[in-house]
Symmetry: C2
Subunit: 195 residues, 2 copies
């Protein structure tokens, strides 16, 4: 665990190697995975508002991060307007990303959610130079379910259903996309999740 909800905020982190998840907890105890982070992505942005992180960051495998102290960031932003703009953009894009997840949780059915999730992963893999068709998941079915607002059983069943439909090859946490177009078509008429 890199930081816990409630910890005082003084840095954001960039993933250098590995993979992490971000978890938010309800007062009642229920918790939900709010994001997965891969190499090159930033986490901890939610801490700047109140000076405390309100999610916890947990590594899903051996992971190295780059610590970016907030004081340093603020200074850099002050000195270099272009850096300042980048920072705004990063924060704003995190808002957009979350809005997409809200859309997923609020309007999609289970199959659509998993398809959107896999397609999103696929494009992120591709952006990092990996094959967009061979996904190596680092998280459990439970994590995926939590992120998608489903139970782990439903996620497992959906993998089975997609496999039977010829869309995927599933071998534990290795998922191969065999019919990319077909997977996209699961998203109702014909759409894809940007990020």
């Amino acid at each position: 665990m890199l930081f816990k909800a409630g910890d005082p905020f003084h840095a954001i982190y960039a993933i250098r190697r590995g993979c992490m998840k971000s978890v938010v907890t309800r007062k009642g105890g229920a918790e939900q995975v709010s994001a997965f982070y891969m190499v090159g992505e930033l986490l901890g942005l939610d801490g700047m508002g109140r000076g405390r992180y309100d999610s916890s960051a947990v590594a899903l495998e051996d992971t190295e991060v780059c610590v970016l102290p907030f004081s340093l960031i603020a200074q850099l932003a002050h000195e270099r307007p272009s850096f300042q703009h980048r920072l705004y953009a990063v924060l704003s894009r995190e808002i957009s990303r979350n809005q997409n997840v809200m859309l997923l949780l609020g309007t999609m059915r289970a199959e659509e959610r998993l398809a959107a999730f896999l397609l999103s992963l696929s494009s992120r893999f591709a952006r990092r130079g990996h094959s967009p068709f061979e996904l190596s998941l680092r998280m459990t079915r439970d994590d995926i379910g939590s992120y998608l607002g489903l139970t782990l059983e439903t996620v497992s069943r959906l993998f089975g259903r997609f496999r039977n439909a010829g869309l995927l090859e599933v071998d534990q946490r290795i998922v191969r996309i065999r019919d990319y177009a077909g997977l996209k078509a699961v998203l109702s008429p014909d759409e894809a999740l940007a990020d």
Copy 2:
């Protein structure tokens, strides 16, 4: 409509009078209300990332906004570090707020969602000097349902159920909270939504 998803971004807006909603749309056409904004709150923050708004802002009644051109904001932030920090805080808090909504959509049952929504509204009303027990909703049942990931029929039924349970008095869009503690208790053991 103040701005539409896709419009080029050049300003954020502060509500001076009235009430607005923010709507995101899926490529497939399905749409969802992603936030409601009251007096004093900021909207349009999601546009900074890509230079285009990715949600639409729609007024729910006669509304006046204060236009805050981004160029001006960036300049002020550069000149006054305290302003810069406030801006980060605002952006970050929007992220936190969205995470709470994701928690709501991902983990709560219908009753819990509506209770959380009403309690959140209640505290926002209180912060603006209104009674926390007399909520004047400006949005339709459909808007509420969309925001909470429910159908308008379910929202209507829940209002009825809460009324019968003595928690609320419901008169169209005027909702009076008659049993604040009871409403809080709907949130499983005993919790409340911060914002």
